[in-house]
Amino acid sequence: MRKKWNAGKILDTAITYVILLAVAFVFFFPCLWLILASFSKSGSIYSFDGFFPAQYSTASFVKLFTDTTMYNYPKWFMNTLLIAAGSCALGTFLTILTAYTMSRFSFRMRKPMMKTTMVLGMFPSFMGMTVVYLLMTQFGLINHLGGLILIYASGAPMGYLTQKGFFDTIPRSIDEAAKIDGATNFQIFTKINLPLSKPIIVYTALTSFTWPWSDFILPKLLLKEKNLYTVAVGLMSLDETEFARFAAGSVFIAVPIVILYFCLVKNMVNGIAEGAVKG
């Protein structure tokens, strides 16, 4: 049956599209501007022809990776990648274990622990910065990338509630069936629940990766040597005349996240499909 279009419906659709386009433009325009600015030939924001660069070139990107005397972007990039990947692996592992334990096992103090972690999670992480700094000096972990990985990974399980919610949706009847067949708790977790949890694992991995990838405060606090800087700290240390390099650095930092997203989105969808309980 063909849809009937009347004036009210057309107007409604038009207004919806206009609003959506306007919102999309507001979010997209700064990104577009930054991408174009990173290709500015002059490298100075003040030589723009109006709002956009007058001439374009890839010189800023070339400089970003070749001129490393003062600003070693490749090194910062690798540092960031190492921290983010390490935090992602360790953080995901800890978060999934925490969430699974809280979802599947009943033990004394389970409820109080859940309440405490929920309350602690409400405090902004930077509140503990002074203590973190003092602890890190005592452990000799200032100027160590491993110190950052430890902090990020150990803080990750605090946000286990989403993952617990997911595990709660997996029917316990599957666990019970496996138990009857003689499976141990470890086997139930690794052979049954983990394969069903791909979507939440992917989600956890993505969030565990993006937080350290873009964090500024903690690396700024704990990394004093320029060669250990992450991209966020390094870009902030650029001289005020290095705008194009800043823009190029900011654009390039988005590349791994985009790649990661496109790689994992397939698993996410497959996981959702595979995770469904079939009759």
């Binding site: 002059s42 100075s44 003040y46 000096t137 100027n143 004093k224 040597e225 001289d239």
Partner: protein, 498 residues
């Protein structure tokens, strides 16, 4: 019963605490006096901190971390310096390395945990703030080779008085003060006939602000997209010199008395008037820091004729001009040669006694400016103070100071080095000796001058773009009142919560 016992116990503890303050008056005074005498005696018996720490015995087989400024690193001077030092001190096993930290480090927080550098290069006001917090070692300055060659004014910037003893906490390396940058190729064709009144082959614009003002007006009138002199006026570091020329000062008693604030002293309002007249030849970008940031590219593309900034930015201006000439089709070598010929850095033009930039046949005063002395200091957290001192001695030697000046274009604080380098370095050195460079105070209260100063200069710059009936600074009295307000705000900021 249990509750009552606990309450009784707590009450007894409370009373005991209160009574601990009781005792015979004379007894406590006597004890205090005795302790003070003991302390004085111990202090007299102890050798001075300087000779204890810097005992002349070089630590062997050590590595010292040196923090230099970014320009010295990027221009390759720092690499040369540590290479030369390491070669010289290889026999002792002393090695200097780049501390590889942000040049704006936080020694007060990182030093105590062992994460700061051993030797640091900073401006005098920063070093002296660290000195007040005892994060810096006092140095045996009089025993150093460079002592006689550096003027007293420069040493004074690094001196701190603690319990009646003066300590020198840094070694001056180079003088930082505003310099005028202009492009020779943007001068009018007939400048030698029209803009060189005294016929000394130096354009009048570089010699007095009246000519600079007149040229700025005419250049902008000819082409509205071009300007003469351009500078962000809100910047207290650059703008306050105009006040100092007419009698203003920061703190009294050689910048050591924070209760005596003198931005409005003497006829400082004339300096504010000069700034206001200069603002009228610029655009609204003079209100914020836009011009400070864009001056490099705008001077290079010919939009601006002149600006002022510190001498260490010479190479940045030069690079921008080379790029601009290359875009015009010149080869790299031709562009560099042309840029070096056309970019002129010189000392500030003279100011008219009356403060009126339109006055004809005016008599002029030498311009004063706020300045700083950058130098080396030794961290109080270093484990190798004698090796650090050896590094500072080496880095402040005649050869290294000359080399530093050649590579970075900075003005050395050493007299012999300034003589050897000549040019603007010599002019800056002379200005320092003549008292035309007012060194930034080395007391912590200096941190309170910036915001009130900026607020006033922003308001003054805005005034040039307000409609006539809304202008706030219409005469010298209004400017004086504005400056008195600045003094009061600084005073309140320093003393309200003290």
């Amino acid at each position: 019963m249990k509750r009552k016992s606990i309450a009784l116990c707590m009450a007894v503890c409370l009373c005991a605490g209160i009574f601990t303050g009781c005792g015979k008056d004379g007894e406590s005074q006597e004890t205090a006096q005795k302790m003070q005498n003991e302390q004085d005696k111990q202090e007299k018996e102890q050798p001075s901190v300087v000779s204890t720490v810097f005992n002349g015995e070089l630590e062997h087989d050590v590595t010292i971390q040196v923090l230099e400024n970014d320009t010295a690193v990027s221009k390759g001077y720092f690499a040369e310096l540590i290479e030369a030092f390491n070669e010289e001190y290889a026999q002792y096993g002393i090695k200097a390395v780049d501390a590889n930290m942000d040049q704006y480090l936080d020694l007060a927080n990182d030093g105590p945990y062992g994460y700061g550098p051993d030797v640091l290069y900073q401006a005098n006001d920063i070093i002296m703030q660290y000195a007040e917090g005892k994060h810096i070692y006092p140095l045996p300055a009089e025993k150093m080779e460079c002592f006689e060659q550096i003027p007293e004014a420069a040493w004074a910037a690094y001196r701190i008085d603690l319990e009646g003893t003066a300590y020198t906490c840094g070694v001056p390396v180079n003088v930082q003060a505003p310099m005028l940058y202009y492009r020779k190729d943007l001068l009018p064709q007939d400048w030698e006939n029209v803009w060189d009144e005294n016929g000394n082959k130096i354009p009048d614009m570089a010699e007095n602000w009246n000519a600079m003002y007149a040229y700025s007006v005419s250049r902008h009138a000819e082409n509205s997209s071009q300007y003469g002199y351009m500078k962000s006026l809100f910047d207290v570091y650059f703008s306050s010199g105009f006040l100092f020329t007419y009698g203003g000062y920061i703190f009294g008693n050689n910048n050591t008395e924070p209760a005596d604030i003198g931005f409005s002293a003497g006829e400082a309002e004339k300096g504010a008037w000069v700034l206001s007249q200069l603002a009228s030849t610029m655009n609204e970008e003079c209100i914020d820091d836009s011009i400070t940031t864009n001056a490099y590219s705008k001077l290079a593309d010919g939009t601006y004729f002149a600006t002022i900034t510190t001498p260490d930015m010479y190479s940045t201006f030069l690079e921008e001009m080379i790029l601009a000439y290359e875009e015009e089709g010149l080869s790299k070598e031709e562009a560099r040669a042309k840029a070096e010929e056309n970019l002129v850095m010189t000392t500030l033009p003279a100011l008219p006694e009356s403060g009126d930039l339109t006055e004809e046949g005016a008599s002029f005063l030498a311009a004063k400016s706020m300045g700083g002395i950058n130098g080396y200091a030794v961290s109080a957290y270093t484990k190798h103070p004698n090796a650090c001192l050896a590094f500072v001695e080496f880095a402040t030697s005649y050869e290294m100071m000359v080399r530093r000046s050649e590579l970075l274009g900075v003005a050395p604080a050493r007299n012999d080095a300034a003589d050897a380098v000549g040019g603007t370095s010599q002019l800056l050195y002379n200005n320092l000796e003549a008292g035309n460079i007012v060194l930034m105070p080395s007391i912590k209260e200096v941190s309170q001058i910036w915001t009130p100063g900026e607020t006033f200069f922003i308001d003054l710059a805005k005034d040039a773009f307000r409609p006539e009936e809304e202008k706030k600074y219409t005469d010298l009295d209004a400017m004086k009142k504005g400056l008195e307000g600045v003094d009061q705000q600084i005073y309140d900021a320093i003393f309200t919560l003290k």
